[in-house]
Symmetry: C2
Subunit: 173 residues, 2 copies
């Protein structure tokens, strides 16, 4: 963080103040944006229909469409036409969105500690929080491979570990 | 985080799902709640008039009132009548709010990296992020002393260091 910024900043409208906490909440402080990013990040879902059909929270179609557009405009998702399907679009995380991993881990960790969450929906957040910076870094590296380089998820990657732990928790529930 | 929960959980309405990321965003995913908590946390402001008058973002009086009520109902702020002033209320952070420090540090760190923030409003977020878990822990200990035990801020505490760094940055701006 102390290093000079070497990447392009996101383009956001002039806001209420230039405080970084305020600016992040102006961009992401709504009830759905980070939940949509969570689904792209953890669910490996990159298409509108998958994100809509698998939504745990039953997101409405118009809300999902508006959040995907907002996140794309902000530079947190990138749209790619699926080869051979002119109308199908994959949404991939950008580097700025991948760097939200530590923030999303903190959201999950605080929620798991203080809110009456569902155990089988909490196991992934717990594993990530317990894993510390090393696991967060491995997870971000894996997301870069999938979303920036368009490689398939590794069989022994963090996503595979989280998925296996989640399935075990569902079986035991 | 892997330890059993030994404290009371916050009381929140039944929501969209029991996922901890979702539940935290259902509670705090609006454009003002975390900004109000930031001001109580960093600004040392505990009264309505101070929070209103010093708001960097010019929060409206009715919005501030509604967020203070919401955060109090959720168990993130506690109201204390100022001795001798029946109508004056101090708002103090609860332990649940103090434990949002790592999340708020991540909000500031991500915002400082990716958004066109104002340098003199970014220095505190940078110092906290650069300080790592030790400084976050010292900061939470200091907030517990102020908000739970109602002690004055220490002259050599994290809040004093952050305030001094902010003043130096303003002078150089």
């Amino acid at each position: 963080m102390a290093q000079p910024v070497e990447h392009e900043e996101l383009t956001v409208p002039d806001g209420r103040s230039g405080c970084p906490i305020n600016m992040t909440m102006e961009l992401l402080g709504d009830r759905w944006s980070l939940v949509v990013l969570r689904d792209v990040m953890f669910g490996g879902r990159t298409r509108f229909r998958e994100l809509l059909g698998h939504s745990l929270e039953g997101i409405a179609s118009n809300v999902l469409a508006s959040r995907l557009a907002k996140l794309t405009d902000a530079g947190l998702l990138s749209r790619h036409a699926v080869p051979g399907h002119r109308q199908k679009i994959d949404y991939f995380l950008t580097d700025a969105a991948i760097e939200l991993v530590p923030l999303i881990i903190e959201l999950g960790s605080w929620g798991a500690r203080w809110l009456p969450t569902t155990p089988e929906l909490t196991i992934r957040a717990q594993l990530l929080a317990d894993g510390g910076p090393d696991v967060a870094q491995r997870f971000m590296d894996e997301l870069r491979s999938i979303h920036l380089d368009h490689q398939p998820p590794a069989d022994n990657g963090v996503l595979a570990e989280l998925g296996a732990a989640h399935r075990r928790a569902v079986e035991q529930a």
